[in-house]
């Protein structure tokens, strides 16, 4: 098989993979909106943050979560 054929096949495979990518649509975020997806409760989070700061002299960096319905 020639290089050009291989290249085209690779491109074909890549486009196949691209079409297979799926975004979680806004109306499919019911599970993400569950309160248990937001991590610990706020009080627990504050306690962890306090201990982390005391032990490691570091804080923050926890602002990115995996949950939420992404509403509005």
């Amino acid at each position: 098989m020639k290089t050009s054929h291989l290249l085209l096949l690779a491109l074909l495979a890549a486009t196949g993979l691209l079409t297979g990518c799926v975004n979680v649509q806004p109306w499919e975020r019911g599970n993400l909106a569950d309160p248990t997806m937001s991590g610990r409760n706020p009080l627990g989070g504050m306690m962890s943050e306090h201990m982390w700061f005391s032990r490691e002299a570091a804080s923050g960096g926890r602002g990115v979560g995996g949950g939420g319905c992404g509403c509005n």
């Binding site: 054929h5 085209l8 074909l12 486009t15 079409t19 649509q25 806004p26 909106a33």
Partner: protein, 172 residues
Amino acid sequence: MNTSYNKNNQAKTKLTAIVAVHLLGAFLAVAAPLKEGDTFPDLNQFGLEGTVPDTHGKVVIVDFFASWCHPCQESFPVMEELYKQYAGKGVVIIAINLDKNKADMDDFLKSHPASFVILRDGSNKLVSQVKIPTMPSSFLLDRNGKIHAFHRGFKGEETRKKYIEEIEALLK
């Protein structure tokens, strides 16, 4: 020699065509959502649960909601208020539920009672075509079924005022 060259060319053309079809598929998968001025799809064509009301010649609000969406909980009392204010003047409000389980919708409606029409798009056929960008999303349709305004999310009093202005303008 010439024959093998032609065969090679044909193979290339076929592969290019397949790649083009794939790319077209990828493009269609991210097709643009509806915009103002577009005709809203006929609700009777999506197998929605519930009875689709007659909207011929009426101003219509189509609101997509789900029980897990907090702004939807805030929007429902406003929809109810708009319904009571404008139902007699030719406005139809249709709320379309997108919960996976009907029981979740029923629980939601117990705590957020609604007099307007509730339909359920359990198969997500309609919303997959409309492609709303966030929850909740609502469309205000004119008397010809065309999208007059689109509301992305619900922003309390600001959204309520906009609705009233837009409905009043359409009823004139």
